[in-house]
């Protein structure tokens, strides 16, 4: 795992000291709110409905057990004993006091964490595949390059006042667990015909009020050219992105309005200019620096264990609950006899992505015991233990159960993404969490969820789409209609390698009508699917939206509801 070097540590400490001074000046009146607001936002501090909210970056979702313990400590000392993991692989604390924020940032700095650039019109926290460095299907670990991008983008003087926020995601696996098609830039690791490493570069994806999928701007970019090419994209966007209209300021709108070909020519010309500087007397990044970063992500010293695990097989036979969990919540590891474990933060009835300080500490302890002290935060708002011996799965499952963390539902219908919504967020137009809780309770029976199979529901409480509803197999968007919460349902979205934006099913539903509509939709899916291996989104592609629209809007049911 990457640890801050002396430069990183000094830089973060300086920023905390600056912010401490800025807070003091706001409190004694030397700074107005208009002057202070951009400063606090640059340090991840928002003002939400009930209190200040601090958004802490977890770069590319990788976290050590010690860092997780610090997050738990912050939750206890300065918040209300819990945190909320987000779709951007961040954590949010919802009840922060302004005067405490500098102390929290100092404590984060102790652990090599910060909240810089988790807000504002800058390059945000770089996200990556949450199974990075562990998954069997990986071409390369995306984290060294994500870390390189982090170092390049933090406080990059040219890109701190972009037309709008800018999000970059990296995947090293063909499965695309990082939703690269829905980011301003998506990077997919690949090799060219000669076997040289590089990236397929996607540009102009994004969700929000104008959802668009990224388009391939460069089919193959050699690895050594990455930063120069990213700089070229950002420079063109900085120059040409719209600053007259917030809603048209993202690069996806520039791609849409200028056209991919025109933009590609401009980016290539800028790239040619910038590349000369990057390839000059001091090559950037230096080979030694790349090696230093890569060394910190060296594959862990795992000993191959011959599969299958006898211990796991016995536990499966003895305990159906464990077998269900091991089926749903483990992923093949690159090392024989090991598994990547998803710890669900979606126990039906709980708020998706929330973890108590007690759960965070338990996860840290279990990471030490079973996963070499490493954890990951997924964009699906779950926690991942990346390196678990299959022999240890049963013991891990039992321990997770003692902390209400053993839900066997990763990727299933109750593994719902939900933003904080109107329960917390100042931008929200409707609640998300209660809708997710209601749906999850309806499908809480483990055998039922398992029978339904892979089914991704994603809920956003406003058009900004933090809950990724556009790429949900079933998306739910909460709006306000005549003072009442109203929920639009979209169908057929997909966040993965076959990314798709869902299509709207029809008029909005009242909050209490959403759960029953999803139950009817699932019944229609079970009626129409070709077999248990055909996921809902695949059935949708095969048969189209009509049977599902009919189920959602079954007149008698909606009127009765």
């Amino acid at each position: 795992m990457y640890r801050h070097d002396e430069f990183d540590a000094a830089f973060v400490r300086d920023r905390v000291a600056q912010f401490r001074d800025q807070v003091a000046r706001r409190l004694d009146g030397r700074l107005t709110e208009d002057e202070f607001k951009p400063l606090r936002l640059q340090n991840g501090l928002y003002l939400q409905l009930h209190a200040y909210m601090l958004r802490v970056a977890i770069p590319y979702g990788t976290l050590s057990s010690d860092q997780m313990r610090v997050l738990a400590e912050i939750a206890d000392r300065w918040d209300r004993g819990y945190g909320h993991f987000t779709t951007r692989q961040n954590i949010q604390f919802n009840w922060v006091r302004l005067a405490d924020a500098p102390d929290i940032l100092d404590r984060l700095a102790d652990a090599g964490l910060h909240a810089i650039q988790t807000s504002g019109n800058c390059i945000r926290n770089v996200t990556a595949d949450h199974f990075a460095g562990a998954a069997a299907d990986e071409i390369e670990d995306p984290r060294p390059v994500a870390e390189l991008i982090r170092q390049w983008s933090v406080a990059h003087p040219e890109f701190l006042y972009l037309p709008r926020k800018f999000k970059i995601a990296v995947t090293g696996a063909p499965a695309d667990r990082a939703v690269t098609m829905a980011h301003d830039i998506g990077l997919r690791a690949r090799r060219n015909a000669a076997g040289a490493p590089g990236y397929s570069v996607l540009l102009g994806g994004g969700m929000g009020r104008s959802p668009m999928l990224g388009k391939v701007i460069r089919d193959f970019l050699p690895k050594r050219d990455l930063l120069a090419y990213l700089e070229a994209i950002l420079a063109i966007y900085n120059l040409r992105g719209r600053r007259d209209n917030k809603y048209k300021a993202r690069i996806k709108i520039l791609v849409h309005e200028a056209g991919l070909e025109v933009l590609r020519d401009e980016i290539e010309a800028e790239f040619a200019r910038r590349k000369r500087a990057f390839d000059g007397p001091e090559v950037v990044p230096a080979v030694a620096e790349l090696a230093r970063i890569a060394d910190q992500f060296a594959p862990p010293p795992l000993t191959a264990r011959p599969p299958p695990s006898t211990i796991e097989m016995r536990a499966r036979a003895a305990d159906p609950a464990f077998a269900r969990w091991a089926d749903a919540n483990t992923h093949p590891h690159r090392q024989a006899g090991h598994a990547v474990v998803t710890v669900s933060l979606k126990t039906p009835g709980e708020a998706p992505g929330d973890a108590s300080s007690e759960q965070m500490r338990a996860l840290a302890d279990l990471a030490d015991r079973y996963s070499l002290g490493e954890l990951r935060i997924s964009h699906t708002q779950n926690v991942v233990l990346p390196h678990v011996a299959r022999d240890d799965l049963a013991a891990l499952h039992a321990a997770l159960g003692r902390h209400r963390l053993a839900a066997a539902n990763a990727g299933l219908i109750t593994d719902i993404i939900a933003c904080p919504g109107l329960d917390y967020c100042a931008l929200a137009t409707a609640r998300s969490i209660p809708v997710a809780q209601d749906i999850a309770r309806r499908f809480a029976a483990p055998d039922r969820a398992r029978e339904i199979g892979r089914f991704e529901i994603k809920i956003s409480g406003c058009i900004n789409a933090c809950g990724h509803h556009h790429v949900g197999h079933v998306g739910i968007l909460g709006l306000e209609k005549s003072g009442v919460e109203s929920y639009q349902i979209t169908l057929g979205g997909d966040p993965g390698a076959q990314a798709a934006i869902g299509e709207r099913a029809g008029p909005g539903l009242a909050a209490e009508a959403v759960g029953p509509a999803i139950e009817r939709l699932v019944a229609a899916y079970l009626d129409h699917r070709a077999g248990p291996d055909e996921a809902f989104v695949e059935t949708f592609r095969r048969v189209g939206p009509e049977p599902f629209r009919a189920a959602i809007y079954a007149r008698d049911a909606v009127e009765a509801g």
């Binding site: 709110e33 302004l98 005067a99 329960d423």
Partner: protein, 100 residues
């Protein structure tokens, strides 16, 4: 001019960030029941002006519509109801928890 609804001024406390209301004496209160009520446009403008003159106590003051049909003003917009109470999914948090 008389307004269709009564109005109060709400904001967030600068130091704590929590929800506060402008009180009749021109100070700030955490109690909705103690919020100053405006019945006319002129009264509402005066209250808002008074609130905006205290930028080092309150952040983002604004006028919110309320009804007076109970022990305390009832916010008419859903967002204001949640601000007044706390998250609907966590009755143990926010003002609603203090009232128990």
């Amino acid at each position: 001019m008389t307004m269709r609804n009564l109005r109060i001024v709400s904001a967030n406390d600068l130091l704590k960030g929590d929800v506060i209301y402008l009180a009749q004496d021109g100070g700030w209160t955490r109690r909705l029941a103690a919020a100053a009520l405006a019945r006319t446009e002129a009264e509402a403008a005066t209250l808002l002006e008074r609130a905006e003159a205290q930028p080092h106590r309150a952040v983002g003051p604004f006028l919110a519509d309320v009804a007076l049909d109970g022990a305390e003003p009832r916010p008419l917009h859903r967002r204001e109801l949640f601000r007044a109470r706390g998250p609907s999914t966590r009755p143990d948090l926010g003002r609603q928890a203090e009232d128990q």
